[in-house]
Symmetry: C2
Subunit: 592 residues, 2 copies
């Protein structure tokens, strides 16, 4: 072959006409037009057309005609302009083609189990089994490249801000962070296990104690959860920690990081600073601590409108101290009655005791509520408080405040989905601040940390006196389009405060010593005030890419049963391996 | 407090005099000079001196006087020039001090178990137990910051070269890579286990099949080895893979990456291209496939010099086909006799059958060898072949070729150490090429891959015919100062060749199917030719930093028993956790 330069399948243009080149890649398609063999060659940079003319190379043209999709080839030839009228404007390389003179078939391919072209729906188990083929598909190539660019942007930005990336260990000790740990048996220490980290939380705090303020890490984390929708056993987070920070400083670092990420990876400028809501306000206005701000439809407390109503459901609710909440469905008066009925059923599925709807149609008010809840004065107050106009519909729920907020919040999102208000190309960020310090554990009835037990109480709440559920934390979440991207907090650095928190959480002294002795010891050796944040990478990339599942933005994810159908993991171990690990399996017998 | 800016403890200079500032950090030292209280405050950027004058703030001065080392403070005041004659030229901030007006003690510290100042020797188990304090020490701060810079440089360089960083999974299936896997029991799949990766090897090959040529990853890897010197159960590698590469292209990428890394992180320009040696040449000249090129002292084959000798040890060795090798110890003739005796003992410890030494002193030749090995002609030939001059010493070993090379190579390094020729500030890189494809497994006597079973045979050796031990591989190592930094190879992409390799290695068909079925299936779907490399990050940073153990360049390493004395990991699990994992421990009873 003559002297020629290797070119990617995406780079050749009119300016390259006349050059001798070599392209290598996968056969995307072949066509025979009057004896000329056209071969489209693909790599991750694009597609280039090569043309074999039997008059100038009979053998090459014969082999070219035998090529099948996904064969791997190297093609040499000279770049030439495509004949006028045959240019392909959809392709960056569409003005040129390669007059091919040489062809090497580097590897043949079996017929793929699904087409590589296009973004059609393919059974996911097949996709995961042949992930190496699935990853050739255009949208997966885009997503993985986007992920690289986004994470690179994070690193560049944080490095420029003086943050150090420090690797923390993966073989650690079990520490409770809400979910189950994956564990790793130790062969050298019979009967003992490491745990895989659910986050680098304690290590990043120790790094602050060690004086490495401004730490970050793109960290792999592990959680052995019962598989809920769209979780992976391993996931990646952007982990950030600072010494001597204010909450505002951390918020600023995270905002600028996200802005840099979206600009560099996606070419999208997001507006900073983000909207800030208190937790209380987010719940009151949106019925969620992860409010979707791409659309309005705020909740209103309309309890006062129904004061003195003879409608028993409302009057009893008000007597109990429950709340009556409503939100407007703009233009909703145009819905036929059966849609309201369906919405009411949905509301009940979402947890509502029932749904009242009021349609302010031009020709009069229609409603599921009885007249006793629809006096002139009530309707006037309702419209005043909610801003409902003629042509709108109004949805009303009554329940204990948090329950009413939560269900109204879910219904609000449901209605917005129906109305197409949740455009994946719009990015509405916000901060939710001033979270509670503790929550009630639904299962045990005991107190649990709303974030984690290392979160500092709000200024003024350090003494932890009074109702624990009324205490606020220096805890903040960043939310995008109704999804929590990450949580952060100012941490406790005073060992006495940390002990008090453990005590409120009813950890025994022995438990505290065994699990957190090293942390308390570290705090007693000059721990600086510190705080930080962790952001979920998979979810951020998913929102950037637009898609339904984080499996679309992870190169080799597990399926929903946490298995890898390609490698067939997890798998049984050889008996001698188990013996070396001082383990026996103890499989439950199936019931007959 | 008045309006003032937060400053690090390393940034204030004469130009800042007059500014109101706030510094925060750890008390490095306090001194009382005639009632003035001097407090040195430290953070990771430096040390700044603050001065409290009781005349301008009695309470602050009193608290300042009570400060102890490692207390955490915030100090406000005005920058002023130090009085003439009291400047500290050793400190970048040594021209200024802060006339302190405000002091907050943010956290008190217990007396540290070892001093934070200076780089003195401290028992390592204590250092690991209080790692958060150990990491405050200056050389650990330097090492961790160096590590950040070096890895950032790698990412920047590879990104600029069009490489994509792609995360591969950590919960995978057991695949044999020479060492034991750490495993992770699956709760959802009773009796089944994931393995933690020893490297992303198979995934990066699948990424090439997927069309992501130019992949890299800074990847955490795991090996459950019997603890040898300076190994960690988890370690980090720079993992690189390319499609359609030549060996030269990969070598160039790695050289430019290392050069960028050393320049950006260390300010050292290393010369590229590196020296290239074949494996055979490295063994012949340096007795090692990891030759230290910071010094000469090449080995010479002096078998011919002793042809016809009546010295039985040499004549029998030559009759057996063994080799007699020698190397020069420049100026070694000055050694007293007992040093030669000690060296001979060392050689035997290193595996030699014995060591002959010849001292070419000015006043005559002395030697441990008998006259029958020291005829005029033999001495002439020896000096001719080895280049030994008057004043030098010569060391001679006889053994089967590989054994003789290996022991002479070790002795060469030992002598260079004695002579101080292994300067940690000199960086001598080289490539070792053309490794054998297979090695004999010392334990089983069977064949094993010299690198891994995915390494392509050398051009011409693809048919795998003839003596397997004579086959060469497309396998290359990069070596720095006698340490292997990494291994790479062109991989097999043809499923038929891969099957043939497995068959030479005596893997059963069932075994191949079960362990590598997915890989062979991937190769059958259009796998491009591909190859790459993996470099050990911990070792590179160690060589950059200069030090004895990779534990010096890892923030939270395990000890030599793979335990973490700070967290006390690994640890026993609660019985209910084991039950959930369908496991029982099976601890061997100690013998009485």
């Amino acid at each position: 072959m003559t002297q020629r330069r290797a070119a990617s399948c995406g780079e050749l243009r009119k300016a390259d006409v006349g050059q001798a080149v070599l392209i290598r890649g996968w056969v995307n398609a072949t066509r025979d037009h009057g004896g000329l063999i056209f071969v489209d060659v693909r790599d991750r940079f694009g597609v280039t057309q090569a043309v074999f003319d039997p008059r100038s190379g009979e053998e090459e043209a014969r082999v070219a005609a035998s090529l099948r999709s996904e064969d791997v080839v190297a093609i040499g030839g000279v770049v030439r302009a495509r004949p006028a009228g045959t240019e392909n404007a959809k392709l960056p390389t569409g003005d040129i083609e390669i007059a091919a003179t040489d062809l090497s078939v580097l590897n043949r391919s079996k017929t793929p189990p699904f087409p590589i072209h296009g973004d059609g729906e393919i059974d996911e188990s097949l996709r995961l089994r042949y992930r190496y083929l699935d990853l050739r598909r255009p949208h997966m190539q885009r997503n993985i490249i986007l992920r690289h660019r986004a994470i690179k942007a994070v690193r560049d930005h944080l490095d420029a801000q003086g943050f150090l990336e420090i690797e923390t260990p993966m073989l650690i000790k079990q520490t409770p962070e809400g979910a189950r740990d994956f564990v790793v048996p130790s062969r050298l220490h019979p009967g003992a296990f490491y745990a895989l980290p659910q986050s680098p939380q304690l290590f990043k705090q120790l790094l602050m104690v060690a004086g490495f303020h401004r730490y970050f890490q793109i960290a792999r984390c592990f959680r052995d959860e019962d598989t809920r929708a769209d979780r992976q056993p391993e996931f990646t987070q952007i982990d950030v920690e600072m010494a001597f920070p204010t909450q505002d400083e951390i918020i600023h670092v995270i905002e600028s990081t996200l802005a840099h990420m979206f600009r560099e990876a996606l070419g999208v400028d997001i507006a900073v600073p983000f909207v800030r809501l208190t937790h209380e306000q987010a719940m009151a206005d949106y019925g969620s601590d992860k409010p979707d701000l791409r659309f309005g439809m705020k909740l209103s407390d309309v309890s006062a409108a129904f004061a003195g109503t003879e409608f028993k459901i409302f009057s009893q609710a008000l007597a109990r101290g429950d709340a009556i909440l409503a939100f407007v469905d703009p233009g909703g008066a145009a819905r036929p009655r059966r849609e309201f009925d369906t919405l009411a059923a949905t509301a009940v599925e979402l947890g509502a005791r029932g749904l009242g709807w009021i349609s302010f149609a031009g020709d009069g008010v229609r409603s599921s509520l009885p007249k006793a809840a629809l006096t002139e004065e009530m309707l006037r107050l309702l419209r005043e408080r909610t801003g409902a106009r003629t042509g709108d519909a109004l949805y009303v729920v009554a329940d204990e405040l948090r329950a009413a907020q939560t269900v109204a919040g879910k219904l609000r999102v449901h209605v917005a989905d129906q109305r197409g208000l949740r455009d994946s190309k719009t990015f509405a960020f916000c901060w939710v601040l001033d979270f509670p310090l503790f929550e009630r554990d639904e299962e045990t009835g005991g107190l649990m940390p709303a974030h984690h037990p290392f979160t500092a109480p709000a200024h003024g709440d350090e003494s932890l006196s009074g109702d624990p559920l009324a205490l606020r934390a220096q805890h903040y979440d960043v939310v995008l389009n109704g999804m929590e991207l990450g949580s952060g907090s100012i941490r406790i650095h005073d060992p006495a405060v940390q002990r008090k928190i453990f005590s409120v959480l009813s950890y025994s002294d022995a438990d505290v010593e065994q699990r957190f002795g090293f942390l308390l010891e570290a705090f007693a050796h000059g721990a600086p005030p510190h705080g930080g944040m962790a952001l979920g990478v998979d979810r951020i990339i998913l929102l950037m890419a637009g898609g339904d599942s984080i499996r679309e933005v992870i190169a080799f994810p597990k399926n929903q049963r946490f298995a890898d159908p390609m490698m067939e993991a997890p798998a049984q171990l050889a008996p001698e391996v188990l013996r070396e690990l001082h383990l026996k399996t103890d499989i439950p017998k199936r019931r007959l």
